[in-house]
Symmetry: none
Subunit: 223 residues, 4 copies
Amino acid sequence: MSRMPLPEKKPSAPPISTHTQRDERRRKLADVRQELVLDAARSVFFELGMEKTSIREIARRAGYTPGALYSYFPSKEHIYGALLGESLERLNDRVQQALIDAPSEADRLRAAATAFFEFYRANSHDLDLGFYLFQGMAPRGLTPELNTRLNTRLRDALLPCHGALQSMGMSSAAATREVTALFAHIVGLLVMSHTGRIRMFGQSSQELFDAYLANLLKRVQAK
Amino acid sequence: MSRMPLPEKKPSAPPISTHTQRDERRRKLADVRQELVLDAARSVFFELGMEKTSIREIARRAGYTPGALYSYFPSKEHIYGALLGESLERLNDRVQQALIDAPSEADRLRAAATAFFEFYRANSHDLDLGFYLFQGMAPRGLTPELNTRLNTRLRDALLPCHGALQSMGMSSAAATREVTALFAHIVGLLVMSHTGRIRMFGQSSQELFDAYLANLLKRVQAK
Amino acid sequence: MSRMPLPEKKPSAPPISTHTQRDERRRKLADVRQELVLDAARSVFFELGMEKTSIREIARRAGYTPGALYSYFPSKEHIYGALLGESLERLNDRVQQALIDAPSEADRLRAAATAFFEFYRANSHDLDLGFYLFQGMAPRGLTPELNTRLNTRLRDALLPCHGALQSMGMSSAAATREVTALFAHIVGLLVMSHTGRIRMFGQSSQELFDAYLANLLKRVQAK
Amino acid sequence: MSRMPLPEKKPSAPPISTHTQRDERRRKLADVRQELVLDAARSVFFELGMEKTSIREIARRAGYTPGALYSYFPSKEHIYGALLGESLERLNDRVQQALIDAPSEADRLRAAATAFFEFYRANSHDLDLGFYLFQGMAPRGLTPELNTRLNTRLRDALLPCHGALQSMGMSSAAATREVTALFAHIVGLLVMSHTGRIRMFGQSSQELFDAYLANLLKRVQAK
DNA sequence: CATGAATGAGAGTTCATTCAT
DNA sequence: GATGAATGAACTCTCATTCAT
């Protein structure tokens, strides 16, 4: 990402903006402004939820008029796509962070899985984002490229768990199966927590998660 | 209201419509028509999804004008409520059916859980219905009574699993915990199956469910 | 209004319902039920106001279905017409009542005018009724006969004032002028009281009415 | 963004649109269009009356789609509010105009009151506007600020009468009382004129107003 | 007389998106 | 790049009235 400095090039010439330089500046500005729109979108979406989020409101908070947003994103769906992208980056950050001080493989598994669970437990709206966009295999109105990128980042977030399981002696296939199940369990717990079903049974999603994780570890170590 | 019995039949007398008879006929007609509306609603909803379902479209398919629906249901949400109600009845039917030929308690657990899982796997829209209405503990625009009824029926569908677990020696509290986890796992698997995440990992929700169930049984029997 | 008893007529004959008798009975029943509808209409209208009054709600309170009301009144407007008719009867009753113990002509004027004012001050909805129906000279959807009857009863309620003024020496023309002005003043005060304009000026409609009446009396007696 | 000042004028240079100029032009255009909507609204309202005035019809006449009106006004009530605002401005204009050539205080009172009366007599729909919005102290869906502004302008229109009465020796409190009564009388006369009640009594609202005013003047001067 | 299902017209409002400027 | 006016389609819901039964 860093750019090599050019030590000497036309030192006497007045600093004329070249095409590339100007383009770069522009792109940077555009990026900053796009980020501004995303910030607004996130704030709206986190405050009002998916259904009540409107282009108008996002524009208002970003200090733009509705039409302006279409310079940055081709549709509402793409804004959500970008938000989801950011969300997945944050998720990966958390998971990586959690791994730093994990001595054993078992600790790595526990740390990564817990970070994953905690991320979505604490930020339920990030979960909503994913659900909104992944209704059926064809993610709403997104480009296949974006879709692939998002999928990859989701996988990435689960990779440490997979790695740990393998390191603990599991075959890759078995590890994948376990990771998928773990993922599903987490999602299930959180969805049901959101919709109040877990409270209905007098349970706590956290305890249930811990129990699942403990069982998983036991299973792995038993082999 | 009681009617004198006529010892000797008057076979020639024409069958006089009593009040109750007429009322009954009417109620049946009304029920039929309400069911017609629900059929239309279900078809719209299953085809277009919750978000794109509109009163207009339901009415169109039912052969009514939009306003007419309001004779049958006081609001759009109530139509969903009725749909969900039916769905839960079907779910309970399946679960009960599955229990009929289950000799052992372990079989009962397996049968009930599998029926539950299969119901939603095969009818993914029924799962959507529940999600739409249970956004947060306060189901959209439903009366608390209806809400309670729906919750109860959901619980009912899981009761056999709970019973089986207890019969196998679990405490009630532990059984509840396991049932909740089972429920969450099923929901997680199905939600992720819907959204293509499971295929993404090259897995099958059915196999994952079987594995979860097997583990659960092993855990129970180990005690 | 009383009905002559028929001392002896066919004492031996079995009491066969004649056409007229049956019709009479029917009419009475119809009247009773019509009154029931009006009671319901009044209660709705007084509670919810003109705008929120609906045929449905009236029917509901009267224990009928909407369609049934059309047996009694050809339109919503006619129900209002009937309500206004009743209202004017009550108004006349009050005015007549007030006159009973009025010794002098001045007292009669004061009593009648005050009764009129008080009636509408205390029952603001009765005023609304009149306004709703008399939008422009063509009273909404009423028959000319009903309209004339209503106008007559309104006049009747003001007649005592007119009479008193004449008895105090005014010409009929002058008395009419004064009565009209008095009526207008009352209506103005009440309308403005309704809409909060009088409070806005820190005044009370009652005091203003008293002042107007005092001035009127002074003017009459000065002649 | 700053532009180097050119000491020597380039008289041939074309007039460059500055930001402010463009903004101004835009605002003017917007104002014109808003006025267009108001014109349409007024025409609908004056033709069909308040109750039958719909956003759709206003839009149709203004050459817009319904949704477009919401760029100009946040709700139907706000359109009425704007209409009433204009109306009150016109009223105040008339009153001020009438005061110009009034030599004495008595003339001022007469001129102001007559202008007020005449305004509403000649433009009965302006009176309706006020009534629609001031149903109860809380003008429908208006902001408190707009409400206050409207109230103030109404008061303003009556202020000259108040001032004249004071100048003629009345206390402020007494003047307020008289102005309120005058206002009520005018409203009463006009309302009853509208609804045909005054014609019913063979009277003319104008003569009755003159008589009231004459009496008021007499009372003031008698003191 | 009464029902109650149904009509049909219409209400106000919202919103993603477009596009001339 | 940004504006903001405008579209056009859609939304849920309400209501007086009608009419076969």
